[in-house]
């Protein structure tokens, strides 16, 4: 059995596999890393680091993109 942890992604609690990377998280929510920007605990994680950045219990993740605006 795989351990899982709870993280907050875009304001909502989500269960992910313990030791999952941010890249894994993006895959889980079906997002192309090239189309989004990711913040982990209010620090930007650059694209090359997504794969090696591991999630921990209680982490706060924000995934943003560009939408229509003035």
């Amino acid at each position: 059995m795989t351990d899982s942890i709870t993280v907050t992604v875009n304001g909502k609690a989500r269960r992910v596999t313990a030791n999952a990377s941010l890249r894994d998280l993006l895959q889980q929510v079906d997002l192309d890393p090239r189309a989004v920007v990711v913040e982990l605990n209010r620090a930007i994680v650059r694209r090359p680091e997504l794969e090696v950045t591991r999630l921990g219990e209680g982490d706060q993740v924000e995934i943003v993109h560009f939408v229509g605006g003035g």
């Binding site: 304001g11 943003v64 993109h65």
Partner: protein
């Protein structure tokens, strides 16, 4: 705009190290559908288009961001910090926007009042200093106040963006004098942002000598956004050309246009 035919040269708009063909910049918000937005932006002739930074809606992941509709190779994406009420929030959004990897420009908004969406000048100056120090090309949305504009320029802003009237109001150019004064005193490009409602507003604004206009709702909320975008393109060109042409002096009394001599007995 091509004014060379009549011998009036115009320089292209230059902000930071970048040169832009069109003096009309447009937003991408509030259109009834994406197809209309795309056609309106094309009709406007704009090169710079603004976008906002928001959370991806993870419950509807297949809903597309705006870049699924706009080719980032064709348009210059100007991210904004709309919706930010503190300098810290605006700085955070600006850094996220830059990380998207398109350019170092940011349309900086720090809002101070929900009803009028007028800027928080203290927060704006604070954020502008930090972001300019980090290498951002800051285009600062501000009120039509000369002293604030001067301080923003001192803070290192690449462009000053005074409002014509409040965001989304369509009230037009309320104070041509202050806009003219800002343009006269500021060396950085002055791009009037917000409040333009229809083509005559855009034309009148450009006649003040400013370097460009940014608009969104005037197009998105028009009954026919594509037609209005076309009208705005002509209005911005016409206003610019009229400014360069140099208007006649105004007089309080009539002066005949036809000869007063050679009249019949």
């Amino acid at each position: 705009m091509d004014n060379r035919a009549e011998g009036i040269g115009d320089e292209p708009l230059r902000i930071g190290e970048r040169t832009f063909r069109s003096r009309l910049m447009v937003g991408t918000g509030k259109y009834r559908d994406n197809a209309t937005m795309v056609r309106a932006i094309e009709a406007s002739g704009a090169e710079v288009v603004t976008v906002a930074v928001r959370r991806v809606d993870l419950d509807r992941t297949k809903e597309e961001g705006v870049l699924h509709h706009l080719d980032p190779g064709r348009y210059f994406l100007l991210a904004n910090t709309a919706g930010c009420y503190t300098a810290d929030d605006a700085i955070r959004y600006a850094r996220l926007a830059r990380e998207a990897g398109f350019n170092e420009f940011i349309k900086l908004e720090v809002i101070g009042d929900e009803e009028t969406l007028l800027p928080d000048v203290a927060g704006l100056l604070q954020a502008a200093k930090v972001l300019a120090g980090e290498g951002f090309k800051v285009m600062a949305y501000t009120n039509e106040d000369l002293v604030t504009a001067l301080r923003l320029e001192d803070a290192g802003c690449a462009a000053i963006m005074p409002l014509a009237s409040p965001i989304g109001s369509g009230l037009g150019l309320i104070n041509p004098y202050t806009i003219r004064t800002i343009k006269r005193r500021i060396a950085a490009p002055v791009i009037v942002d917000a409040g333009v409602g229809t083509a005559s507003d855009a034309c009148l604004t450009m006649e003040q000598g400013v370097d460009g206009i940014l608009m969104n709702t005037a197009l998105a909320a028009a009954r026919h956004p594509v037609a209005m975008a076309t009208a705005m393109r002509h209005a911005v060109d016409a206003g610019r050309l009229a400014f360069l042409a140099g208007r006649m002096p105004t007089r309080e009394i009539a002066v005949p246009s036809s000869p007063t001599s050679g009249m019949l007995d």
